[in-house]
């Protein structure tokens, strides 16, 4: 009898080791060649091979959309946004169903956000892009050029015909830029495909577009911990807040890091389409929603729109939001506060 107990006592640690061996392990992959951003994939899987399969599905999906949304490069056998832009003012061209679906979503996003997310903002974005990339002789686009460019950003110039799957830009000066919608759209598609392939626990982070899949398969944890960066780079604590989420997408739009300075003034990259100038109501806006493409659209829109208008838009999508103002005060939806670890009203 006692001998048996001793054997069980001896076996218990072995059982413990066996149990640890069966637990999912954490793996990571990253790449910096898509969407002009750095993307990391974290996953909890039973083996490295399994993780690599999911990471490949995610990378391939994002590569596919990267090429579809590219406005600078052509790819063999692919009709992409560059093809459409180069053809502006010409006759309609046939596009793939995937690109057509995206452009339909882009037009929808325009009406949802009262024009603050405009896929046809290309002419204005190019003027700012040209200034931003000239590091030595920093200047901002002159007002006359911006006003002229704004004349060619009408969303109605983008004509979609679902019956023939054709697209046409009726204004020869018009051009498309998927910027404000591209990453969220691609990440959502990638997450869906990875999930269909069996990926049940992980996070994709494409430069601030975060998509959580399931919950972390680690003992004592039932949600992913996401740190929200402090927009004030000089602050002692680099984190403004930490939130606990599972199966949701979190997207932050901020005025820090991506900016350039002219005569002591910062000009960042999120433009208000009505003024063609950088939006300046907030330091950052974080949006939480189940769907990454909606979170991405809303984070840009809410960064541009006044707080009250943004709040009612967020409420209509049941999105949770954290707004950080210029003086680092903040507002948040009730649902956001419930996920927050540090912010108390």
């Amino acid at each position: 009898m006692n001998t048996r107990i001793s054997i069980v006592l001896l076996l218990l640690p072995l059982l413990g080791f066996a149990a640890t061996g069966c637990q999912a392990q954490k793996y990571e992959a990253s790449f910096s060649d898509l969407f002009d951003t750095y993307t990391t994939i974290t996953g909890y899987t039973m083996s490295e091979d399994e993780f690599s399969d999911y990471a490949a599905v995610i990378y391939d999906t994002m590569l596919y959309y990267h090429q579809l949304f590219d406005i600078y490069h052509e790819y063999e056998g692919i009709v992409n946004l560059k093809t459409i832009n180069d053809n502006a003012g010409g006759s309609p061209i046939v596009v793939s169903q995937d690109l057509f679906d995206f452009l339909q979503w882009a037009k929808e996003a325009y009406s949802i956000t009262s024009g603050s997310v405009n896929v046809a903002l290309g002419p204005v974005l190019r003027l700012w892009e040209d200034c931003r990339t000239k590091a030595e002789s920093a200047s901002i686009p002159d007002a006359a050029s911006l006003s002229e460019a704004l004349l060619h950003t009408h969303i109605d110039a983008l004509i979609l015909d679902p019956s023939t799957c054709t697209v046409c830009l009726s204004d020869p000066e018009a051009s498309l830029d998927a910027g404000a919608l591209a990453k969220g759209y691609a990440v959502e598609a990638a997450a869906k495909r990875a999930r269909d392939a069996g990926f049940t626990s992980g996070v994709i982070n494409a430069g601030g577009n975060v998509r959580c899949i399931g919950t972390p398969q680690v003992r004592h944890r039932n949600a992913f911990s996401i740190g929200i960066q402090n927009p004030d780079e000089t602050a002692e604590n680099p984190l403004f807040d930490t939130i606990q989420v599972s199966d949701l997408s979190i997207v932050t739009s901020g005025d820090y890091q991506r900016y350039f300075i002219v005569d002591g003034t910062r000009y960042h990259h999120i433009l208000d389409p009505t003024t063609a100038m950088p939006a300046d109501r907030f330091r950052s806006v974080t949006v939480i929603h189940a769907d990454s493409k909606i979170a991405d659209m809303l984070s840009t829109a809410l960064f541009i729109l006044p707080y009250e208008e943004g709040l009612s838009l967020a409420n209509s999508y049941e999105a949770e939001v954290l707004w950080i103002f210029g003086d680092l005060t903040w507002e948040a939806t009730e649902g956001y506060k419930a996920m927050s670890q540090t912010l108390t009203p």
Binding site: N2, T3, I5, S6, L9, L10, P13, K26, S30, F31, S32, D33, D36, T37, Y38, T40, T42, R132, T133, K134, A135, V203, N205, G208, V210, C212, P216, V218, H220, R221, F224, S225, I226, G227, I228, Q229, E233, P238, L239, T242, I250, V251, T252, Y256, Q257, R258, Y259, F260, T286
Partner: protein
Amino acid sequence: MNNHRKFFKKTDLLLIGGLCVLALILLLVVTLSSPKGTTAQIYLHDVCVMTCDLSEDSIFQIDQAPEVTFQIQDGKIRFLSSDCPDQVCVRTGFISLAGQTAVCLPHRLVVRIISDSPSDLDVII
């Protein structure tokens, strides 16, 4: 019979005691061998080219990208300077929390703070 039972009790006690000592030794080994302080990895074109301990202050370049300078100070790391046009990497400033990254896309250079602790943040945005 009585003696017999006592004998088993002694070995059981020895066994349990021995296991406890073993567990303590293992715990000490694991605790002492785990790295003190923070570690950063530098990636070039998505390949890790350097792992650095952040406990010693230094200013350095890597051979593959001599136009970029890194600085380690007080357990933190940053891009001190870079010849890239957007300067996003330099503006990111010092990073020190596991999950934090500083990225220079023009050079395809990434600095990441790494950690194996399950209590760390999954992502920082």
